[in-house]
Symmetry: C2
Subunit: 424 residues, 2 copies
């Protein structure tokens, strides 16, 4: 039996969908790197009974460690520390040193923002956050809330519960202290490396891959293969223990043979990695002209640290006047073929390349919807073009989904057009 | 006891964080609108035992309905239909009409993308997706997978399980059929309206609000109040049954009095709604010049349907040359005070306003990190400016967090500066 952990994400704002959970996925990947498999991530609201039930359920599945996120704030609906303490049979005690530490942090933060604080309110909030279950280990705050490592009380059995704050930056900042903790180390003592490899395909249906996997049959023994189709990219992720390395090597070779034409990454690199590395290696710069995607492509390109080395900038040319005056698309062309056309996409790519003095230009124009479609030019129609000094490559595509889907998928198509231009 | 439901999100790709779940939150809000409260959202991998355990757990909490998402695809790791059928004591049967329908859809999709399909592989995938538990109701596919409504077999008790596909567009497209279904209707027969109201504050610490909530004490009886601090906005969401309406009206008035200065929305509208409505109502247009945020602001502004009525466009001016040549920031100014400065932010706002011919201009320049910080200008420093014909309003802020946090938070600050310029 492998070492397994469960995660509980607390917060009515997460449960009801007002905030999307980033901690469950992040914790799952950190645990995987430690060799710990994950069985369930449970999202619960700020209700003591629901949280207790989730703890009971996870303990019942026989796991080795529980990690919770959220519910450590100053308001009364933040009750994770209290519920976990009771669940592990421990009473909460005020930690005066921690109280002082949190008080100092709050004072500093508020001063930085120019906030006037109600002294009594602040003191009450600080005291609440400095309550630590007896016998638990406190992890120093990254924000204002400390983390906790809470083993079961003497005479009880069960896994330790690691209690972390909800803000991802705080949770992530505390993780090294969790990994270094002796209680956590003992709970995960039996763990064995859990490898994960990713192969990415662009432009093949999932049903073809399903057939390949069926044909491979028991050559996949020891491999946990999951496939996921996302915005046109087909991702094959395999998790396995070291003993199954030969099986994985064999599997990766089989996929490499069968899908040579569409496989673009077998080493985990994303299309973003490939485009950025190619631009850097070739010493080339890039500029974008976007209409329907509204700046999402240039925002994605500049998401990477160091992208200022090759991204000169971009123009979101929503109006025709901006297309003409800033990007240099001829007004006559727009009047003749319409703003959503192969010709205008090409004029945007070459125009923004010239206007910004870049080596590579991208043009995107389309109808993201929900309105503005016609029988000839339906919602989802997108014309794209990538251009450099030697060539310009156009693509016309009709994308399914709503406005957000069309915008996001058009950006993915543009990324793969760039990848091909730069690496083929 | 109120009517409650549980949600199970399946998929190793979700559990391990490669795909973030959009279905749990969406389903939670749809159920809330039906008057159904939600207790737990459980994410499980593609393993039959883990899924069965999650089903057992939810049934054990005494809920009235279970909804699952994902695991209906053509690959072997898609096993939700099979596991749910066994859990409810029903055997799977091939539905020939459904098989025909799925086959037609796959053929049409593939033709549209120009894919050549392996006939045998396609037939096997189609057959798998057309297996329906005996006695279950199939919901016609939106993509290629049908949904299922699976009541417990005769002689068994427990809630019905609604099985929906993972792609959000498909799941959402099927929801009306779920709501209209008689089995689902009977399971939720006792439900009562569950109201939800949102109040939003900008620029106050959560500890102050915690004190206010403590002071209100039992005036909050019957209200489930949750607070959430997100990117500087403090959101107060209250859920209650109709009998507690007077308590909510009283609570909303108390918050309105106490936080008049920082309350910007008491009717659920977001800062995006307010900015868009103000621009439309005033007949004004907007243009952006972004450096560190890389296009995220203009992408957010154009995320809304109909935004072309007031967004003329934006320039992502990553290089100094683009700031000078396209936005019109004087080279001399950049040389004298540096690209990250109040002066350059203002020159960007007024420059892009002029260059694109807009009524309102926004300029953002900062250091998103992780590199590029100095003691004088640390990582997280952002200068922003909003300008119209009459005024230009600058802000200097130092934002915490990593590169993505700084970029995202700077956009939120810009949205609130716009809100104030347009509505004060």
């Amino acid at each position: 039996m492998s070492t397994r952990a469960g995660v509980i994400v607390t917060g009515t704002e997460v449960l009801t969908g007002r905030v999307s959970d980033r901690n469950g996925p992040w914790l799952a990947e950190q645990l995987r790197r430690l060799g710990v498999d994950i069985a369930h991530v449970i999202v619960v609201g700020d209700r003591p009974d629901d949280l207790t039930r989730a703890l009971e359920f996870l303990v019942g599945t026989g796991i080795d460690l529980i990690v919770t996120s959220g519910g450590l704030g100053p308001t009364a609906d933040d009750l994770t520390a209290e519920v976990v303490a009771a669940f592990q049979g421990r009473s909460a005690q005020l930690d005066p040193a921690l109280e002082q530490q949190i008080g100092d942090i709050v004072a500093r933060l508020s001063a930085g923002r120019g906030w006037r604080l109600d002294e009594q309110a602040t003191a009450a909030a600080t005291r609440k956050q400095a309550l630590v279950p007896a016998g638990a280990t406190a992890i120093p705050p990254v924000g204002t809330a400390p983390g906790l490592i809470v083993p079961p009380a003497d005479g009880r059995t069960g896994p330790p519960v690691v209690v972390l704050p909800g803000p991802p930056r705080e949770l992530q900042g505390m993780w090294p202290a969790v990994v270094a903790d002796a209680t956590v180390g003992a709970a995960l003592a039996g763990r064995e490396e859990l490898r994960q490899q990713t192969i990415r395909l662009w432009g093949t249906p999932e049903s073809e891959l399903a057939a390949t996997l069926r044909q491979l049959g028991d050559r996949l023994d020891g491999l946990e293969v999951t496939t996921c189709l996302r915005d046109g990219e087909l991702e094959i992720v395999t998790r396995y223990r070291p003993a199954a390395q030969p099986a994985y090597t064999d599997f990766a070779a089989a996929i490499g043979d069968e899908y040579a034409r569409v496989l673009f990454s077998a080493d985990g690199r994303t299309v973003d990695d490939i485009v950025a590395e190619a631009l850097l290696a070739q010493g080339r710069t890039i500029a974008t002209a976007e209409s329907c995607t509204g700046g999402l492509l240039v925002a994605r390109l500049t998401d990477r640290p160091g992208s200022s080395a090759y991204v000169l900038g971009g123009v979101t040319s929503y109006s025709n006047e901006v297309k003409q005056d800033i990007v240099g698309v001829p007004a006559e062309l727009i009047a003749r073929v319409g703003a959503v056309s192969a010709e205008v996409a090409e004029a945007m790519a070459t125009g923004v390349r010239t206007a910004l003095g870049a080596d590579v230009g991208v043009g995107i124009t389309g109808i993201a919807g929900p309105d503005g479609g016609t029988p000839d030019k339906p919602v989802g129609l997108v014309h794209l073009c990538v251009a450099d000094a030697d060539s310009s490559v156009p693509t016309r595509i009709v994308l399914p989904g709503n406005r957000a889907d069309v915008r996001k998928r058009a950006v993915v198509v543009a990324m793969h057009m760039l990848r091909r231009l730069l690496t083929d």
